[in-house]
Amino acid sequence: MGFDFAFAISTVPTILGAIGTTLLVALISCLGAAGIGFGFEMLRRSGGLSGYAVRFLIDFIRATPVLAWLYFLYFVLPFYGVRLGALTVGILGLSVYFSGYLAEVFKAGIDAIPKGQQEASRAVGLSRLDTIIFIIAPQMLRNIAAPLGNYFVSILKATPYLAVLAVPEMLGQAFDIASETYRYAEPLTVAGILFLILALAISQAVKRVETRLLGSTRR
C-alpha cells in the first residue's frame, strides 16, 4: 500500500474548506486571549491579594500544556452544569492558555512607556482612567503590535489541537476523511502541507505589517 497521490489530491477541497474555521478559531481565540491577558495584567498591576493570585495563575498557565487545558475545560465544565459546544470549549481553551503569554506582552508594552508620561498626566490633572485611555493605551498598542502578531501566528498553529475535541478545522477534517476511508497518510499529509502554506503566508503578512508599523514610528 503506497502513497496514493490521486486520492491525496481528492482530499484537498474538503480540507481546504475548513480553512475558514481554522482562521475564525485563531482570530476569536486571539481576541479572547488578549482580553483575558489584558485583564490579568491590570489585576497584576493593581497589586494586593488579587495581584498575587493572578501572578500565580499566569505562572501556572505557562507551566501547563494546552492539551491538558482543553481536556480540563471539556470535561470539567459539564461537571458543573456548563454545557458548551466543542468549538466554544476549544476557543475558550486557547484563549485561557495564551492569555498567560499575552499578559507578559502587555506587561512589556506598558513597562516600555517612560514613567514621565504618567507623571506628566498627573501633573496636568488627568484622571487615572483618562491617563490609561489617552496616554498609556495608544503607546502600549504600538509597543505590543509586533509581539501580538507573533502570538496570532502561535495561536493559529495551536488551532489543530481542537481536532482532539472533534472540531472540524483542517486537521479535524483530515481525520474525518481518514476514518471514513481507513487511509490516514494521504489526508494528514495534505492537511500538513496546506497548513504549512497557510502559516507561512500569515506570518509573512504579520511581518509586513510589523515593518510598516516600525517604519512609521521610528524616531
Binding site: G2, T64, L67, Y71, F72, F75, V76, A185
Partner: protein, 219 residues
C-alpha cells in the same frame, strides 16, 4: 479512588514524559546548533536551503507534523517506533525555534569580537567555537530554558499516538472513574510541578545575565 490514587496513576506516566523529553533533546540540541550556526554563516543557495528546512520544522503545527510522520512514514516503508517518531518531531520542532535563538545570539554579538579573533590569528572555525558561540549561548540561555519548557509541555501530544505518558494515564483513569475535576486538575498540577522549577531556573539565569551586562556596561 482517592485523589492520592489518581496522583499515583498519573505519575506512572512520568517516565514516558521524561523519556520523550530526553530523546527529543537529542534531536533538538544538535539541530538548533547546526542549523542556527549554518543560517548565521551561509550565503546564497545554502542559506536558502537551511532556512527552508528550519521554516518547515518551525512553521508547521507540531500536532499535525506528529500525525503526518506517525501515519505517513510507514506508508513509504519507514517503520519507526511511536517514541522515536514523537521524539524526532517534537525535538526538531523545538530545535527549529531554538535555532533562531542561536542565530540571533550570534548576530547580536559585537563585530569587534570577530575582528579581535582575526587579529589574534584564529581561524574562522576557532573564532566561532572559542569566541562567538560561548557568548551567544550564554546570552541566549534563558530563551533555551523557555524552549525546554515548551518541549516538556509538547510531550502531552504523544498521548495521541498511544504512548502512555502522564496525559494518557489521566485519560485512562477518566475511563474507569468519573471524577473529571480531580483527574484533570491533578494532570495540570503534575505538569506544573515539573515545569515550574525549570521556569524559576530560567528567571534566575535571566537575572544573572542582565546583572552581568550592567556590570560590564559600568566598567
Amino acid at each position: 479512588m482517592s485523589i492520592f490514587d489518581i496522583w499515583l496513576g498519573i505519575l506512572q506516566g512520568l517516565d514516558v514524559t521524561a523519556k520523550v523529553t530526553g530523546y527529543g533533546l537529542l534531536f533538538a540540541v544538535p539541530f538548533a546548533l547546526i542549523f542556527g550556526v549554518a543560517q548565521y554563516l551561509a550565503k546564497g543557495a545554502v542559506l536558502f536551503a537551511v532556512t527552508a528546512i528550519i521554516e518547515f520544522w518551525r512553521s508547521s503545527a507540531v500536532i499535525i507534523l506528529l500525525f503526518v510522520f506517525y501515519y505517513a512514514l510507514p506508508v513509504v516503508g519507514l517503520m519507526l517506533s511511536a517514541i522515536t517518531v514523537s521524539a524526532m518531531v517534537l525535538g526538531l520542532n523545538i530545535g527549529g525555534y531554538a535555532s533562531q535563538a542561536v542565530r540571533a545570539g550570534l548576530q547580536s554579538l559585537d563585530r569587534g569580537q570577530k575582528e579581535a579573533g582575526q587579529a589574534l590569528g584564529l581561524s574562522r572555525s576557532m573564532i566561532l567555537l572559542l569566541v562567538e558561540l560561548p557568548q551567544a549561548l550564554v546570552a541566549m540561555s534563558p530563551t533555551f530554558v523557555n524552549h525546554f519548557i515548551q518541549l516538556v509541555k509538547a510531550t502531552a501530544l504523544v498521548s495521541l499516538v498511544t504512548l502512555t505518558d502522564m496525559t494518557f494515564r489521566a485519560k485512562e483513569i477518566a475511563q474507569i472513574e468519573y471524577n473529571p475535576v480531580g483527574i484533570y486538575t491533578s494532570l495540570l498540577l503534575a505538569y506544573f510541578v515539573v515545569c515550574y522549577p525549570i521556569a524559576i531556573l530560567g528567571r534566575w539565569l535571566e537575572a544573572r545575565i542582565s546583572s552581568g551586562r550592567e556590570l560590564a556596561r559600568g566598567l
